[in-house]
């Protein structure tokens, strides 16, 4: 089986740039990824692109070829839609294709334009990740769905808004050095607790922002990296994907994410590691409670204990297992289709020592990226390891 190398990564700044088109965002991210990789565009054999709400935000379907063109690549291109896990799913398929020897060089990534829809419009667009008939028509919003999970968690395992606030405070703190982050501002627990309610028990600072942005990665086979003497010290050594019932009310547990657990177990087994080997992770914290559920699904925290991890310093930058050193979706921003790819890019640079927060994880060799769609009816997990130059 061919190992998959991360040859280069590129991110746009994440933020509020409503006038910028998706194609322009992806062109910028992919140009940065090509420059970082040293791989010529002509060598790309396939494009795997994630996007969620392009039809609603830009009246644009069929984005695969459009984005290949924007990236300056002549190759077959497919768009992946798996709600907020769109580019995680795109990357997983690229990994599979490279491993089975069909492709040597792939451009992967994603983009999302959201802020042009305004808050109400983006809320409406995000809601289509839920079951339209049985959830959305009853008034459930996307923050509302995670609020239902948060309330269920509090009832089942305890904890409350204050513990969740520490997740937001931590991730804002981590983003202070991330010049691509939407928010580079410190906040306090009081700020979180006093912020306006979005959907109780979640307030404004429990929620990730609405963001525009793109992420791109050039992936190559081990053989290609060797032959071209690429400076690509990080490999994707494990990949997993999980699925679950669409509607939250149809799941066995309202405060757990079995799809993410399934994806994590598969990725760990694939890489030949277990949770104790994980030095750092970027997890899908679209809401503060989502980080808690992710830690438990990934076995980084036992069930029912993840809620205290940030408060007690286990997941802070100087903690045992730093989580979301990029700032996470919470502070870095969440341009939905770009998120999964941006997490892989962050983990890769954290491991290779090129990230502003690499100093916190100088000895780290193994990182995990966890990307979730909807109320985690879809999930992908990838294990990245620093294995040295090919």
């Amino acid at each position: 089986m061919s190992e998959v190398r991360i040859a280069g990564t590129g991110l746009t700044p994440f933020g509020n740039v409503p006038e910028r088109t998706g194609r322009d965002l992806f062109a910028q991210a992919s140009a940065a990824a090509f420059e970082d990789s040293g791989v010529p565009r002509d060598d790309v054999e396939a494009v795997f692109y994630g996007n969620f709400m392009g039809e609603l935000a830009e009246h644009q379907g069929h984005q695969g070829p459009l984005m290949a063109e924007a990236a300056g690549v002549r190759a077959p291109a497919t768009r992946y839609e798996s709600a907020c896990a769109s580019s995680g799913a795109a990357i997983r398929d690229a990994v599979v294709r490279i491993r089975n020897g069909e492709t040597d060089v792939a451009l992967v990534g994603g983009a999302e334009r959201m802020t042009n829809l305004g808050t109400a419009g983006a809320t409406e667009a995000l809601a289509i990740a839920a079951d339209d008939l049985w959830e959305v028509r009853a008034g459930m919003t996307f923050p509302g769905a995670y609020a239902l999970m948060a309330q269920a968690y509090f009832s089942e395992y305890g904890g409350g808004r204050e513990e969740l606030a520490h997740v937001a405070v931590k991730n804002h703190e981590n983003a202070l050095t991330n010049e691509k982050a939407q928010y580079q501002s410190a906040i306090t627990v009081e700020d979180v607790l006093e912020a306006p309610q979005v959907s109780s028990p979640l307030g404004l600072y429990d929620s990730c922002p609405i963001s525009d942005g793109a992420a791109a990665i050039v992936l190559t086979s081990e053989t290609y990296a060797e032959e071209h003497d690429l400076d690509a010290p990080v490999a994707i050594t494990g990949s997993g994907q999980g699925g679950d019932r669409m509607a939250l009310h149809d799941r066995e547990y309202l405060a757990r994410s079995p799809a993410a657990r399934e994806a994590g177990e598969e990725a760990y087994a694939d890489a030949g590691i277990d949770a104790t080997d994980v030095d750092l992770a970027e997890v899908h914290d679209c809401f503060t409670i989502a980080e808690v559920l992710a830690l438990e699904a990934l076995d980084i925290e036992p069930i029912g204990e993840g809620i205290s991890a940030a408060r007690d310093g286990r997941t802070t930058a100087d903690g045992e297992t730093p989580i979301n050193l990029s700032g996470g979706l919470k502070a870095k921003g969440h341009p939905v289709g770009a998120t999964g790819a941006s997490q892989i890019a962050e983990v890769a640079t954290l491991l290779s020592g090129e990230h502003p927060n690499s100093e916190y994880v100088a000895e780290a060799t193994t990182g995990v990226a966890h990307n979730a769609g909807g109320t985690v009816a879809s999930a992908t997990v990838h294990v990245l390891e620093e294995v040295g130059r090919p």
Binding site: A120, A138, T141, P143, M149, S199
Partner: protein, 133 residues
Amino acid sequence: MSDAGDDVQNAGYDGWLDAAESGEAYYLECPNGHGSLPPRRVCPDCGATDLERVGLPETGEVETYTVTHVPTPAFEDDAPYATAIADFGPVRITGQIVGIDPETVESGLEVELEVAVSQTTDDRILGFTPVSG
């Protein structure tokens, strides 16, 4: 949504709301006893294709809830409103709790189905009301 398709119903779903309005709400049960909501051709738990309509228990219990302050445009005039997942035994259902101050909703509240109407769109909403007494 306002377009020419406004009158087109979602078969299975709208019929279920009609049934709920006449006090005849149901769920689908497979031979293995799994419950689900329509429209379905197979049981999502076990793949059985022999699905039978069975009357929904009259009351359910709120398992989790939220009060939404930032709605989608379709619920602009309804906010703030409480949404809950209620356990009816064979199925759980997501609905809007009406007829009570949203801030007083709690887990364990006993509710029954009530098809309500959105204050924003006049569309029917799957709702719950607290069981009195």
